[in-house]
Symmetry: C2
Subunit: 598 residues, 2 copies
């Protein structure tokens, strides 16, 4: 069984030495998590993930969820206790508002800790993950009364949340949705319709479930302009705001899925269920996007978390499994064979994952820090610049990190050879679990379209230009530094490719929108490589600085960063040229065939 260890030292390196976390102590919440407190929180989170959450992962996969004849759903046996400890430790409300029982700490710390928890058990962590989305939507769009009613229980985790968007005939294209809302005289609504793929839709971990449901109020305009968001609790609240009468919502079935078996993915039937409008009438899509952006970052984090967990398992196996001899002569002559970590092609897999995980972690935390700044900074310009960055990077974090997360789960499984294909080693579960992250919260093709079709040109390309300038300036500033030059040279080449691809889009996609669609996935990956390469540039810069100032006993940690960064530049960055070449060919050959030719 994989034995996961939370990469606390790496998180601290990124936060303190690369991102300058300590410089933000003026922001609300940050002062409550001083450097010492930060370290203590990460260490506590690591313990919980390693000792309490992780042991539930494999059993959760085996047991899965079960729906019973009375439409109730039970989760794997060990989940209740682990979820309880997670909630009791206050982890769910770590970054939630203090007035509703949260700790008001930075989202950055929440993200750092969530990586550990998801590495330990992704399926279990989806229950609080969906709840985070509901909290975000209520904080942003709820009336004071709604906030008082729903938030305290969600923040403590005694109630959980869900997002209800998808219907059998509509996923991406929400304009098609049919679920109906009929007004009652008391201001509430009666909701009827069917929703599918509802994560945590029904389960036994909480006393109530707060469904956030997209529906169409009778007489509303067609398409996306006629969609509203509703709060639909599983149990209606009584006079004391406690769960009382059962509402008209129930789980029709649970899906048999490839992975995340511990998560109850439900078909939810709404039959005149009482719902309360959240946000404005016909403003449901906008409200839903509040949840969705944060949820997308959370899904990107899942990609990183599974890549890390799978990498650690592969590493342990590669050090232990004896097979063949090193091409450069025996490395363990006293043993019948060398451990397979001596073989370059095994190393290639490990280094690829390692180089990606460390940069991915930096990218996630940088984005989370910007999210904090965008919400908490005093200065409007600073808030805007940070918000620009988060908006631009959200599809990149979601698309790139989940594509890579799956790829690396497969890679880690490959290190195990035939043993990786057998369920008992747990590598198949990583692959099966990681797969969903490429699909939900907007399939990665949709992320790519969001980036190319929406985010690039937003506000006259303000976010994009700021990012180009930041990376370009970094290269320029470090160009003369002999130690940095090999890194910045490759990064600059990647940036040039990205800028050329952007220019190509500006020149070719206006007149022919299919050229944008045809370029989108390559563009997202090209963007992701430059973003990750930039993270490596900054990590290498920080490592050099530390080594120059004397890293003491920790010198090896920093020297390894230099090697891993070099590997990323040499082995990952050459792909930018291939992406640019593909993008530049346009949509012609892609779109030329009639449908019947397929």
């Amino acid at each position: 069984m994989p034995s996961y260890r939370a990469p606390v030292a790496d998180t601290l390196f990124v936060l303190r030495e690369v991102l300058g976390y300590d410089r933000h102590s003026n922001l609300p919440g940050f002062s409550d998590a001083s450097p010492d407190v930060l370290e203590a929180i990460l260490a506590e989170g690591a313990k919980l993930a390693e000792n309490v959450i992780q042991p539930t992962n494999r059993t959760g996969d085996i047991e899965g969820c079960a729906r019973h004849d009375d439409a109730s759903v039970t989760t794997p046996a060990a989940f209740k206790e682990a979820y309880g400890q997670y909630c009791e430790g206050g982890w769910l409300g770590l970054a939630a508002p203090v007035e509703y029982g949260g700790q008001g700490l930075p989202y950055t710390i929440h993200s750092a800790v969530t990586e550990y928890m998801v590495s330990a058990n992704m399926a279990l962590m989806m229950y609080p993950g969906l709840t985070q989305g509901a909290i975000a939507a209520l904080v942003a769009h709820g009336t004071d009364e709604q906030k008082d009613t729903w938030l305290p229980r969600l923040v403590e985790g005694s109630w959980t949340g869900t997002m209800n968007l998808t219907e059998p005939h509509c996923g991406t294209d929400l304009g098609l949705l049919r679920t109906k809302a009929v007004p009652n005289s008391d201001g509430s609504y009666r909701i009827s319709g069917q929703k599918i793929f509802i994560s945590a839709g029904e389960h036994d971990l909480s006393a109530n479930i707060v469904h956030l449901v997209l529906a169409r109020i009778e007489g509303a305009p067609a398409g996306t302009k006629g969609i509203s968001l509703f709060i639909v609790p599983k149990f209606l609240l009584d006079a004391n705001s406690l769960p009382g009468k059962r509402n008209g919502v129930s789980c029709g079935s649970i899906e048999e899925k490839m992975g995340i078996h511990g998560n109850a993915t439900c078909v939810m039937n709404y039959d005149d269920a009482i719902g309360y409008l959240l946000g404005e009438e016909n403003g449901g899509l906008k409200a839903m996007f509040t949840m969705m952006n944060e949820a997308r970052l959370g899904v990107g984090l899942q990609g990183l978390a599974l890549s890390e967990a799978a990498y650690q398992a592969a590493t342990a196996y590669a050090k232990e499994r004896l097979q063949g001899r090193s091409l450069s002569g025996p490395k363990a002559p006293d043993k019948p064979a060398d451990p397979i970590i001596v073989h370059p092609d095994i190393r290639r897999n490990l280094m690829t994952m390692k180089a990606f995980n460390e940069a991915g972690r930096a990218l996630v935390l940088w984005t989370a820090l910007n999210s904090d700044i965008s919400h908490r900074a005093d200065d409007e310009d600073q808030r805007q610049a940070a918000g620009d960055y988060v908006g631009l990077m959200t599809p990149v974090v979601k698309g790139m990190l989940t594509d890579k997360g799956f790829e690396h789960a497969v890679m880690a499984q490959q290190v195990f050879g035939g043993h990786g294909y057998i369920e008992e080693h747990g590598m198949s579960q990583f692959v099966r679990d990681a797969r969903i992250a490429m699909i939900y919260e907007g399939a990665n093709g949709i992320q790519a379209l969001d980036l190319v079709g929406r985010k690039l040109a937003l506000d006259g390309g303000r976010a994009l230009q700021a990012f180009f300038k930041e990376v370009g300036d970094f290269c320029e500033e470090n160009r003369a530094d002999e130690e940095m030059a090999p890194y910045t040279k490759t990064l600059k080449k990647g940036l040039n490719d990205l800028q050329a691809a952007t220019m190509w889009l500006m020149q070719n996609a206006m007149a022919k929108p299919d050229n944008a669609g045809a370029a989108s996935t390559d563009y997202l990956h090209l963007f992701g490589l430059v973003a990750l390469g930039y993270m490596w540039g900054r990590m290498v810069r920080a490592a050099h600085d530390k080594l120059a100032n004397g890293a003491g006993d920790n010198a090896a940690f920093y020297e390894h960063k230099l090697v891993t960064g070099r590997y990323f530049m040499e082995r990952a960055m050459p792909e930018t040229g291939a992406h640019l070449a593909r993008i530049s060919t346009g949509a012609d050959a892609m779109m030329a065939l009639p449908a019947e030719a397929f």
Copy 2:
């Protein structure tokens, strides 16, 4: 449920118009499969695959195999009937020697038909697939008596075969194997030991199972030089050569795997089981490789077959699923939304799979044709040249086609969005099944090492040089042709990258073997792209010729080839430069970290 249609027209195009199948009618077996007969065989095979084999695929995945208390194993309920019809139709013995009941037809036709069968149900087809390997080993290494005893039943499929290599502590590194063989006075041996991951090791489809087992004869040299191959039947034969007394071999357990649930993957325990030496004492590894090379081509074919099946399912869904509107204006204005095939990013997935499948099919059939020529041609030079080609291309076909097969199963699943993650649509099964092909018969990293470390330099690089010359000549011959130039220009660029990578290896891998290991997987993929690109070059050439001579009602078929070939050149070939760049960075950064840094 996916509904598979065998691509008979495409097979015929490749065989006749691209590979000039009809020119080989002088070879033994080829004259029995004249153009008309060929077409009839493919049509019959298609019918069986579509109507009989395919319906067992999903149920086989759900039911899986079960081991009972008496160590017997049952396969999914529908398998017996389908396997019976496959054998009755003579499909197992299609290319087997006539004197043992086979039809002696070309291996090329066998390969063409096997693609259809594997697309329809990979797990089921593994039972006859392993039997093919046993037949090949017996034909090559058996005594006349052994051939007479075992081959007729194997060829008719009433008995099946297995390959027993792997032990718990040794997979790739067979030198470590411990299974023992103790000579009996009658010339037979007593075999004892444990083998794992034995496909079709125990099941209920045949009256006997002929295990081919690697073991070490008492007192044999250590390492790979002391390994012999044995025939170990499940039931010993009685005086009438019929299954009699049970031999000392049994299934200890079956593995719970990620996929191919319909295939019984067994732990096999040998306890003084009677075995008969096959081939020479201590010559087991060589004999095993006879099976293995053909098996590796068969596994490459599995990659293609699943890529094709998954592609077809994704195509059907993309034409049917309505979601969103085309970027260039509504294409189905009468419907609530357009079918998703109008979206470029969906097309990108479909075109990528289509362009690969068509070239992969050509590569498989070209390799199979060379295998036939290498065994059947009169002329020694021709046999040698064809054999060179098969040896060189075996790791490429295995490694490239299975990596791509899996990648495309994932891609096809992605087209389904959330529905792809639900087991009922069958897309998850394609992914789970395709995954194993990257691992067994030598993990793809081993294929890459075989290519770089063995095949390149073999016979002074004779095979490699011949391949380079053939592709180079093709580019040269077509360079002046305006219609061909866009294709050959890209192909030539790919060939240049491949030759540069080869040169780099010659200059850098002798002194430092880790540079070869560090390059190997990239080199295999670079090689694969050039090989597939060359197939596209030839297919486009054939299509142009046909169109120039008047293709009549079939013109669309040939015009689509031109588009699909262009797509491959534009979208797949840019990767050759990235591979070369990675290869040229060498092993330094890859190997620099100490094991404890991981």
